[in-house]
Symmetry: C2
Subunit: 242 residues, 2 copies
């Protein structure tokens, strides 16, 4: 499995991905699920994937080949991120059709970025190739094991979150997911993009023994317990039912 | 969908259930998913259910009829909670076999309690009728929409948690789940059982507008933001990759 999240706030974009892949519990490996491509001053894209590894590797390989070969359609030719999402969706469908076999070959993608003259956007591409955009009300999209890490995003992220806040919240969301689900694991990749900049943003890969990631884990675990201890004690009698 | 959790710590048991049922988005209703039965000084059981409403209602109806009729096997005759779980599993299988149709008629149960001469126990009964027990390492069991509310249980619950702490943690776990998933909703029922007491424990039903539940929601939301604000700011440069 996988966990990736894309956050699109006023300040820009944050994408976070894990790196664990598995074909059964006895076939666990590590592959990056994030790609960053762009031309400074013209376009920037960050793409994350989940699903069948052969499909996602095929999509990333074709996406990079189309750029290298100057193909008529590639992330270097699309006029906006929506066209980029449709392009990735088409590559994904084509890759899946090579090996007909149903859901086992499916893949999903997060496609986020900005193209000169268009707006900073974030999309989630379904296995069928169609896609949805995040909204001001729910400024994030998730693929893979999305449930464990959703409550913290719902509580913390708003359109006014800074990129560093959003990145930290995504890391906390990832930490809770890794703790609860073995199929999501490090290294964790985090990339940001500042809206309007058209320049590559911050990027960091956190390995399992990364000091900062460990400090965040340790602190969050401690802070959650402190927060919990401050809740009002349970009131058994208010409704007279006890 | 449903969310129920059963916590079995040294102090005893806590079970929490939501009350929302739905057969499609346009057929949403409210039914209690918890039953408490027992004989003071001899036996106490708390049972929660998830899954097909006809199946779970059938199981609860038969469970109560067997007690009323003094049937040879019922929760009043089993010698321990494990036999109680096997009995509920058998009722569930029988109910499902009445309407062959596969997973749509499936149901799962949490069966917890204590019988004089045996130990305080908590089991999760699968649709197939077999069951598992919670452990000292993971002292809780969940049925239904379990993922959203798992991280907080993992962080807070230990074998040394008090019943009030465990009940509050289960409420917070439920709150995060309700916030993230429409198919889980109030009223929330909470029941506790003090290990060794063989007496009914605390019970409370929290309606949507319950003052205490609202205070917990509001406080937790605030405390999470405070906890988040205290985390160390993201360090983009420690690995030299930025």
């Amino acid at each position: 499995m996988t966990y990736c999240v894309s956050i699109n706030v006023k300040a820009g974009l944050v994408l976070v991905s894990d790196s664990r892949t598995n074909a059964g519990m006895d076939s666990v490996s590590t592959h990056s699920k994030m790609r960053r491509v762009g031309v400074p001053g013209e376009r920037q894209f960050i793409i994350c994937c989940s699903g069948n590894l052969a499909t996602t590797q095929g999509v990333f390989a074709n996406m990079e080949r189309d750029i290298r070969d100057g193909a008529p359609e590639s992330l270097m030719t699309v006029r906006n991120v929506s066209e980029g999402a449709a392009y990735i969706g088409a590559l994904s469908r084509r890759e899946q059709e090579k090996t007909p076999g149903g859901p086992v070959f499916e893949a999903s993608f997060l496609v986020a970025g900005e193209v000169l003259g268009a707006r900073c956007r974030s999309y989630m591409v379904y296995p069928e190739g169609n896609f949805i955009e995040s909204s001001d009300q729910v400024p994030y999209l998730q693929i893979g094991e999305s449930k464990y890490g959703k409550p913290i995003l719902d509580r913390v992220i708003t359109m006014n979150s800074s990129l560093d806040e959003a990145a930290l919240c995504a890391l906390v969301s990832m930490d809770g997911t890794m703790r609860s689900n073995l199929t999501v694991g490090p290294p964790i990749e985090v990339a940001t993009y500042m809206a309007g900049s058209l320049q590559p943003g911050q990027y960091r890969r956190f390995d399992e023994d990364d000091d900062y990631l460990r400090e965040v884990k340790r602190n969050w675990n401690k802070e959650i317990k402190v927060a919990f201890a401050r809740l009002p004690g349970i009131d058994w009698y208010a409704d007279g039912s006890a």
